[in-house]
């Protein structure tokens, strides 16, 4: 459900890689933009989004997690 890092905003602080509970990111060296090495293992906990000091991370939720819903008007018919 890979997190996506905005390369222009990221300052390579390494926070996302350090705090991700699933170890999704890998950072080759300090100051480098981490890579999303194991995107499929993301738990959508949102920690990387919340803790990135530059708001450089967003989550791309996979298509099939679609949160099924209907127009609630159907309940009143």
């Amino acid at each position: 459900m890979p997190p996506v890092i905005n390369q222009d905003l990221c300052i390579g602080c390494g926070t996302c890689a350090d705090i991700c509970p699933m170890n999704v990111f890998e950072q080759e060296a300090p100051k480098m933009v981490p890579t999303v090495a194991y995107g499929e293992e993301c738990w959508h906990c949102n920690a990387c989004v919340l803790d990135c000091p530059k708001k450089a991370v967003s989550l791309r939720i996979p298509l099939n997690y679609m949160l099924l819903h209907v127009d609630a008007a159907q309940f009143k018919e």
């Binding site: 350090d18 699933m22 499929e40 959508h44 939720i61 679609m66 099924l68 159907q74």
Partner: protein
């Protein structure tokens, strides 16, 4: 090749820097003990409480009155109450509010609505409310800071692989140090060990999105480590065969369903349950806490699907719900809904039952939180004879830290890393890294889920039986043998995933042994060969342990208050 780089010594070793582990670390350190925490990820954001929770079950005499009995009854009647030794429930309730006080003092907002605690949600109409509503969005950072302040040393990126013991009791643990570029082993020698590794996710095929192993309601890096590692050294596990299934939005798996304020409806608008016609922040629709299998039942009988409908919820309560979802760590879900234009004040959202996982099933603890292995304590989701989720982890963690620190003289430091078991396990894990080629961990993980789903299935509408369970045990042994001989880990990350798959296999094996022994149907443990519920077992718990390679199952009376 993995080598033992670090051998450390401490009074109290805490395994898992989740809610229970951090509370244990703080109290043990405040009690004067030297404390090390070994955490798989980073305690600031790890585990099921990573980005927040919002309900803290507890007993508050000022709001509930001086008679604890009705509150105890409420706890035991709730979705948390199935597998409690009541003696432990009472001890928990007595101490619970004092831990909420501490959390508030440290900076977790336990009183977001004014000067006093407020109890809301998960409640039956006209019954006492036992869920303290709080704002836990920063709970992990706050507890981490407190643990450090108290003097505990937290080693992040140090998953524990095995517990170490001798004839007297616990002696320490073996961990994988993944904090640097080159992984290595760390052994911590300890007088007391408190294990708190959370739930066991990823045992069964994900009910919503098969193949997507990490779309789970609870943290998928909690993989039953405590149950597996304790089982290997002969500790007693309890209630492992009684399945638990969480529910929530479909196909976006996420715990925290009770933060939604709405009523459950059939597609034509008819209500699913009898409890309320309109939901408020004080009393939501508790139907699915009570009728746990509702979402599956209505699919199986064709009357579904079932939706949560928040359109009758007032605007103030809707705002309140959104704030609650943030406190609860549902930010990713909210972002997704905003992005896709899904608005709970306009849309009905389908709910589903997720796959079974272990919570409140696992290690048996005594009144001090100690397991059947001397000096080994257990706190939180992986305890088998008590369950109260966030507050259960916090309160028991705290009490165990206190007890361990006060009883250090009954433990001793030994050269745990030299034991045959430690040497054997180090060679074992190393083999996955050093073999030149082989199978991927995912093959082992998926294999386990297939077998669990087919041969140790949980209800509703699925059965277990002697023949299925025996076949399952055979197939699991085959899978394990093949996986042990073939899995290749390219790096520490893959090794960790492989370790988790083997931990889950241990959990699966224990579940199947225990399920064979429970010759009746109860809850979601449905036996086709014993279709009745046996009243003689109502006040009995089933324990399982391994002794000299043999599996021993024993029934015992539930411990009354």
């Amino acid at each position: 090749m993995l080598t033992l780089k670090n051998t450390l010594e401490t009074d109290v070793l805490v395994i898992g820097g989740g809610i229970g582990g951090l509370c244990a670390a703080i109290s043990a350190a405040q009690g004067g003990a030297k404390v090390i925490v070994l955490e798989k990820a980073n305690s600031r954001r790890s585990g099921s409480g990573a980005t927040g929770n919002d309900h803290f079950t507890c007993y508050y005499p000022k709001a509930h009155g001086n008679d604890m009995a009705p509150i105890l009854k409420e706890l035991l009647d709730s979705m948390l109450g199935l597998c409690h030794d009541t003696r432990l429930s009472v001890r928990f309730l007595e101490r619970s509010i004092s831990i909420a006080d501490k959390w508030h003092e440290w900076g977790i907002n336990m009183k977001p609505f004014g000067d006093d605690y407020v109890f809301m949600g998960h409640a039956f109409p006209n019954r006492p409310r036992i869920f303290l509503k709080y704002d836990g969005h920063n709970q992990k950072q706050v507890l981490t800071a407190q643990a450090k302040k108290a003097g505990a040393v937290i080693l992040n990126h140090h998953p524990v692989l095995d517990l170490l013991r001798n004839d007297e009791g616990i002696t320490g643990a073996l961990a994988l140090d993944m904090s640097g570029k080159e992984p290595s082993y760390t052994v911590v020698r300890a007088k007391k060990v408190i294990i708190a590794t959370g739930a066991a996710s990823r045992l069964y095929p994900p009910a919503g999105t098969p193949g997507w192993l990490f779309n789970t309601a609870f943290c998928p890096s909690c993989t039953g480590a405590a149950q597996a590692q304790s089982w290997r050294i002969g500790a007693k596990l309890v209630n492992m065969e009684l399945p638990n299934r969480h529910a929530g939005p479909k196909y976006f798996s996420r715990a925290g369903k009770s933060t939604w304020i709405g009523v459950y409806r059939y597609p034509d608008g008819k209500l699913l349950g009898p409890f309320v016609t309109k939901a408020t922040r004080e009393v939501g629709d508790i139907t699915c806490d009570v009728w746990n299998s509702a979402y599956s039942d209505v699919l199986m009988n064709g009357r579904g699907p079932a939706y949560i409908d928040c359109t009758g919820t007032g605007p103030e309560d809707m705002k309140f719900m959104r704030a609650g979802m943030i406190s609860e760590g549902l930010g990713a879900l909210l972002d997704y809904m905003d992005d896709k234009g899904i608005d709970p004040s306009k849309h009905g959202v389908e709910f589903m039952q997720y796959e079974p996982h272990l919570i409140g099933r696992g290690l048996e603890i005594d009144i001090n939180g100690e397991t059947s292995v001397h000096g080994l304590y257990a706190a939180g989701d992986m305890v088998g004879n008590f369950r109260s989720d966030i507050s259960g982890a916090a309160v028991w963690g705290w009490m165990e830290g206190e007890h361990a620190a006060a009883n250090l003289e009954s433990g001793s430091l030994v050269e745990a890393e030299k034991s045959e078991w430690a040497q054997e396990r180090m060679a074992y894990y190393d083999s996955f890294l050093t073999r030149p080629s082989g199978a991927h961990w995912k093959e082992a993980a998926l294999g386990l889920q297939q077998i669990m789903g087919d041969y140790a299935a949980a209800g509703p509408h699925r059965v277990r039986s002697e023949t299925l369970l025996c076949a399952g045990l055979k197939y699991l042994a085959d899978l394990r043998r093949n996986a042990e001989a073939n899995v290749k880990a390219a790096n520490a990350h893959e090794l960790l995933r492989a370790v988790e798959a083997f931990e889950l296999m241990d959990n699966g094996e224990v579940i199947m042994h225990a399920a064979r022994e429970r010759k009746e149907s109860r809850g979601m443990h449905q036996r086709s060969d014993y279709t009745f519920t046996n009243p003689l077992l109502s006040d009995k718990f089933l324990t399982v342990r391994k002794e000299n390679g043999n599996v021993i199952t024993e029934w015992r009376q539930r411990w009354s208050a």
